[in-house]
């Protein structure tokens, strides 16, 4: 296992118990989503994965070794585990895009030529190469998010953690970020872990899902498994993807013979509809033939 959390609890200095006895793991190459409402502990959990926060109790294992918190170990884990923050304004501090993206590689002590190459490549990957000399305040939110992502990619991480990568983005920017993430996972074999409450996005992105509620781990499984359990989803104040909800209603209210594994995405829904039409036509044709 790449990451393993063992009985992790975190209590903030004001006394809030943000994480309560959480044990879970993240596998290499997987795309995992942490799903939960605001304040469910997603961000706090993510902050433990590259040592931003120390657990109050419990342990974090990275490649089966417990995380150390001295500055050398932290630099190492932060090179290998990149973190993209929710608000790009928190992350972009440098006066130009290029300087910001160069910050990470320079901290790793790489020589200038190599840093420049890493910066160009990272900006190219996220499609922001022509904005290299611009200051961040000239950019739109979607562009800032991509630059923030480039700043982390330039450090060539093995794991990429993103906190609400699509929050506040317009539909187009959302889909661009999503495709970019999937590409990173496929082409560069980067393990992806992200926190979100965008339930429509989760099935498109994740192959593994954890649901958090009030600091506790409620459930884990594939998106298909978890979203077909409507009671579970509603119990933690979330909802199913719109398309899943539609099929749930069609099944319950209209008694359509829908597969118990409800479709989560447009393409799954399309298959299911075609299947229903086919079986209906088959029945019709059979009746015709009988006559």
């Amino acid at each position: 296992m790449l990451f393993r959390l063992e009985n992790l609890s975190h209590c903030y200095s004001d006394g809030t118990l943000a994480l309560d006895d959480i044990s879970l793991s993240f596998a290499k190459g997987e795309r995992t989503a942490l799903l939960g409402t605001n304040g469910s502990g997603k961000t706090t959990l993510l902050h433990h994965l590259n040592g931003i926060l120390k657990p109050t109790s419990g342990k974090v294992y990275f490649e089966d070794k417990p995380l150390e918190y001295d500055s050398k170990s932290l630099l190492d884990i932060r090179r290998r585990v990149g973190f993209v923050f929710q608000d790009p304004n928190d992350q972009l501090f440098a006066p130009t895009v290029k300087q910001d993206v160069a910050f990470g590689p320079l901290n790793l002590g790489q020589p200038t030529d190599q840093v420049k190459k890493a910066v160009d490549e990272a900006l190219g990957t996220v499609g922001m190469a022509k904005y290299a000399e611009k200051p961040p305040h000239f950019l739109s939110l979607g562009q800032k998010k991509r630059v923030a992502l480039a700043g982390v990619l330039a450090m060539q991480p093995e794991v990429l953690i993103m906190d609400e990568p699509t929050s506040n983005l317009d539909p187009r920017a959302t889909s661009e970020i999503l495709h970019l993430l999937l590409r990173l996972n496929k082409e560069f074999k980067i393990t992806l872990i992200l926190a979100t409450h965008d339930v429509d996005m989760v099935p498109l992105f994740a192959n593994k899902l954890y649901i958090l509620n009030k600091g506790k781990l409620v459930s884990e499984g594939s998106p298909a498994e978890l979203f077909s359990d409507a009671e579970l989803i509603r119990g933690v104040n979330l909802r199913s993807p719109r398309i899943t909800h539609l099929f749930e209603v069609l099944k319950k209210e209209n008694n359509l013979p829908i597969n118990p594994k409800l479709p989560l995405t447009i393409s799954e829904a399309r298959k299911e509809i075609l299947r229903l039409l086919d079986s209906k036509n088959a029945v019709k044709n059979k009746r015709k033939a009988d006559k």
Binding site: I52, L75, D90, Q91, F103, F138
Partner: protein, 265 residues
Amino acid sequence: MSHVNLSAEIDRYAYTNALSKSSPTTKLFLAISLLLVSVMSPTPVVPIIVFLTSTILLLYFAKIPYRFYLKLLWYPIIIIALTCLIIALFFGYQEPLTEINLLGLKWTVFKDGITLGFTTFFRVAGGLSTQFFLVLTTPMTSILLILRKARVPKVLIETSLLIYRYIFVFIEIMETMHTAQELRLGYSSLRKKLRSISLLMANLFIRTLEQGERTFTAMSARGYDGNIRVLEDLPKPSKTALLGIAIFAAALAVAAYLTMNIRIV
């Protein structure tokens, strides 16, 4: 909040003007040497040449719209003009020029006072134009990189770098909060105005502290260890350009020396 927009506009021109790609070292060298020549000149002749030089550079070469340049010049010029009027009227002691009636008081105006007033006005105006040339053609990043090369203390440079970036974040936050207050009639009377402004300031202050903490966390996540390292990729200044500027400045200094005895009145 027009002053806020003005500084944002200056920043925008610094990145988009026709000279933004040319070597910042050359531009800084030009601005500083012309500033020194202008301020040290004993007569208005050289400062006028300096003023015309930077104005021509700004309008024809950097392609800054003349309306914007005038807008920038307008306020400082008025202030300098008033100051220099006072110098002209109340300074000096050698040859009396004329007597004026000031609220029933007789006041003698001296020739050297007038000369000093005029010279000061043009010196400052010349110096001002060189600094406008610098800020309108050279992005802040480049200036910081040069200062770093010039071994200005790190803490100053790193603070300026962060201030420069977050000024624009907080301008946005301030404008949003200001609008939100205004929409709820927070500025409808003097009392409410004072209250709203104080609330706005207190809130902004807290927001800056929070932002500082979040930025620190985000920087730590990318390996921040107390040193902000930057890519030093300044375009190399052309030696010919630097030499040309040095010769021009020297020529102006000679001109200043030769015109030392010119009298205005």
